[in-house]
């Protein structure tokens, strides 16, 4: 067997509430078909939204060069899986928190995720306001106000998770934030 050099792994976390679009985000940008751990939704309120949900993590990859790989880890949205945030959050380069812009109910969960990380492992973070292509979508400015981010340096950027260019813009905004912080 060929002795391959182990590539260094860089990790970005894609977090957010149930049905915010984390799996789609990773699928859109990953260079390989992402590994997902989806199970049938069991709660009736969740079944109304979608049939399957992520229970452990989604996982996508972007090769940077011969030595480095960027891994995108998607964490389950429901707060009952918050132990996963702990496991996956440690050592992350940054975090993208997704919200469903058409569903204000999901804003609270996004706030809980931000509270969690900002109180424990503060890393550069952006909020991506997904589903901006839908008619009832709240604007990124209003989501920023709703999440109390207007006085904090956490940007809120528009997103359509099915569109590769839109996903790239979100990742680039996060990388820009990381550059500002450590550059």
């Amino acid at each position: 067997m060929k002795n391959q050099k182990q590539k260094k792994r860089i990790k970005i976390l894609i977090s957010g509430p149930f049905s915010a679009g984390k799996t789609t985000f990773i699928k859109t940008i990953s260079e390989l078909e992402p590994l997902t751990t989806e199970k049938k939704t069991t709660r009736s309120s969740e079944r109304k939204v979608k049939d399957y949900t992520t229970v452990a993590m989604d996982f996508g990859k972007i090769t940077i060069d011969d030595e480095h790989e960027l891994y995108l880890f998607g964490t389950p949205g429901q707060t009952r899986f918050d132990f996963m945030w702990d496991i996956l959050g440690k050592g992350a380069l940054g975090i993208v928190v997704l919200v469903d812009s058409t569903n204000p109910e999901t804003f609270h969960e996004a706030r809980q995720i931000i509270n969690y990380f900002e109180s424990r492992y503060p890393v550069p973070m952006v909020v991506a306001a997904n589903k901006q292509d839908l008619p009832d979508a709240w604007t990124p400015e209003m989501i920023k106000a709703a999440l109390n981010l207007d006085v904090e340096d956490i940007p809120v950027v528009p997103l359509v998770a099915t569109d590769k260019e839109s996903v790239k813009k979100v990742l680039l905004k996060l990388l820009e934030e990381i550059y500002k912080e450590f550059g």
């Binding site: 972007i62 380069l93 706030r111 809980q112 424990r120 109390n148 680039l172 550059y179 550059g183």
Partner: protein
């Protein structure tokens, strides 16, 4: 432009928080279980409330001065009207709301009878445990004052419990610490006060220490990651 939702998912203090922060004018329509009320907003303040029979009516009557004349409202009674159709309804959790910014014309003379920050505090006092936990979700949360603290405090009438909670906010104590110091005051009352302060824009969440640079991250590597993502 505006937003809509259900009061069960997005409670009143949060709606008013967005209105206060956006500082725009428009109309908030709330379809309560028993009544539809139009709330007139001028630059982020609620200045009038009016029960309506048809939603379309508010969109056809765009001149606020004419609305007041048509309804024969005595300006001295506006605070009583706001009390009846807004303040007394703050404990009501069922209904749907929609807010549309723009389209309504105001003059310069409309008065603000109850500052929106005070309405937020009053609404926060009605929150349930599960509602409060959506925002005050973590024992380790730490708050500090915003620059505009003095001006906002002038517009608020805090309860004795809220005053005590305010005295404990120093940018160091966590929510857990404040709850302990406030004992035997029920946690719910402490959390409601913090929820109200945060929604009213009086306090802000503080980050725990500096952001840590991940091991092995160099400027050169970061530039390469950025270039790679651009080329995808």
């Amino acid at each position: 432009m505006g937003f809509s939702g259900n009061l069960k998912d997005f409670p009143i203090p949060d709606i008013f928080q967005v209105i206060a922060k956006e500082k725009k004018s428009g109309i908030l329509l709330v379809e309560w279980k028993d009544l539809i009320v139009a709330y007139y907003i001028k630059k982020g303040q609620i200045i009038f409330a009016r029960p309506i029979d048809k939603i379309t009516r508010v969109y056809t009557e765009r001149d606020f001065e004419k609305v007041i004349k048509k309804l024969r409202v005595d300006p001295k009674k506006i605070s009583q009207i706001l009390d009846r159709y807004l303040i007394q309804r703050l404990d009501n959790k069922e209904g749907i709301f929609s807010l549309i910014f723009g389209f309504i014309r105001y003059t310069c003379s409309e008065k603000v009878y109850i500052p929106i920050e005070q309405i937020i505090m009053l609404a926060s006092r009605q929150l349930t445990v599960s509602e409060v936990r959506r925002k005050i979700s973590d024992n380790m949360l730490t708050f500090g004052w915003v620059k505009e603290k003095k001006e906002i405090l002038k517009r608020l009438q805090l309860s004795p419990v809220e005053k005590k909670v305010a005295e404990l906010i120093d940018g160091k104590k966590t929510v857990g610490d404040i709850r302990k110091k406030m004992f035997p005051t029920p946690e719910l009352d402490v959390d409601r006060a913090l929820y109200g302060f945060w929604s009213a824009g009086l306090i802000k969440r503080l980050r725990k220490g500096k952001r840590h640079k991940p091991e092995g991250l160099t400027l050169d590597l970061l530039k390469r990651i950025i270039e790679k993502v651009k080329d995808l």
